[in-house]
Symmetry: C2
Subunit: 210 residues, 2 copies
DNA sequence: GTAAATTTTAATCAGGCGATTAAAAAATTT
DNA sequence: AAATTTTTTAATCGCCTGATTAAAATTTAC
């Protein structure tokens, strides 16, 4: 059925196909991607692609799950750390996403646009609900509100603001370049600055001013 | 060639096709959309669609330009108003986008994901560069920085933050619902709150605290 | 009511694309 | 060197989809 593993040599080809698939899928999305494109990008032929992964959809599912995973992982890895303060967690989340999307700039649009195609799949895969809602992160936020340190605003606004300020500038980069005539270097420098600025901004937004 | 205008009756059908196209394109994107879907959605047949608009791509271009237009218009209509203060403009921009995306929730992802397919087209259509850079809005911002009222942060951060906080929650709605188990009603209520909150947050972020 | 314009029907075409297959070739293992 | 595994080649199949066409049916205009 699938290629036998002679030592671990084949990992190379299988991984090469997956990497190619990631590149093309992220760039063009599922529908606009041709399996022939992936094969070419991987430097192999179409037959071999179907030899390793049985179909375009199977291959896509793998890429999508990986993307969805790293999306969620950037959050969950931080959420239940008992050693860090609320704002240390904010800084960690921002940094995590920045690093991730630096390597995979097309990932946000890819996930968010493909999700729109069939949201059911996402809903099934995600029973994380309680996982997030019961997290130490949220507990800390509620406690800070109780103590009067933080404005009594829905924690979802808190999360929305962090993710918005961090992720959206990646997504809208091309648009800002086109509209405002920003160069790649300028945009890059701005994004670098935001690593430090966003946590400060979040503090300003939610911390109660004496 | 194209249907003769008998009075202005035909506006009805042409517009119906365009509306259907907008719906389907926004939902599925260019590649995943079948012209047959659009025809069905419009309640007409495929032949008629090609009778009015010569091809799928022609029809798509119209929808894309409309979307791009309303995207930009929400900004430009406010940017050169000499009568409003800086923060009144912020409130106007937020409100403008909120109203727009309330009617067309899929517009942001649509534009931003299709833009990725061929960014060249966007770059050509947009010579707005000076239009934005020379706007009264930016002038006001620079003046406020000069006067020491506003933190000396790049105006692009200012713009990024406004658009991020406003637009991204629309885009990430499905994700937040899936991950955190948010209901439609909860999400809707949150978005309503943000109309008032975002301008306040912007002020907190950029106004110099005495 | 007749003429003109619009819309439908039905059939068809061409091209693209996902997928499969068998056999040859190349690489790897033993 | 022989056996086994991996990869290529080349051809093909079937389906989907965008697009076109001619004729019929329907609606609208005058």
């Amino acid at each position: 059925m699938s290629p036998k593993k002679t030592q671990e040599n084949d990992i190379s080809t299988e991984e090469r196909i997956k990497n190619a698939a990631r590149t093309v899928f992220h760039q063009k999305g599922y529908a606009a991607t041709r399996t022939r494109d992936i094969a070419e990008e991987a430097g192999i032929n179409l037959a071999l692609l179907n030899y390793y992964f049985r179909s375009k959809e199977k291959l896509f599912d793998i890429i999508m799950m990986e993307g969805l995973g790293s999306f969620v992982q950037s959050m969950t890895s931080v959420f239940n750390d008992q050693q860090t303060t609320l704002y240390e967690k904010v800084a960690a989340i921002v940094e995590g996403y920045m690093d991730l999307f630096w390597k995979e700039p097309e990932l946000p649009v890819f996930v968010l646009s493909e999700m729109r195609r069939n949201p059911e799949v996402l809903m099934e895969r995600m029973q994380h609900k309680q996982y997030i809602l019961d997290s130490y992160f949220l507990k800390q936020y509620f406690e800070a509100v109780e103590k009067g340190e933080v404005e009594p605003i829905s924690v979802f606004h808190f999360i929305m603001n962090i993710t918005s300020l961090t992720i959206f500038p990646f997504i809208s980069g091309p648009m800002l370049k086109a509209i405002a005539g920003l160069t790649n270097e300028q945009h890059q420098a701005l994004m670098q600055e935001r690593k430090k600025l966003i946590p400060q901004w979040i503090k300003l937004m939610f911390n109660k001013q004496a």
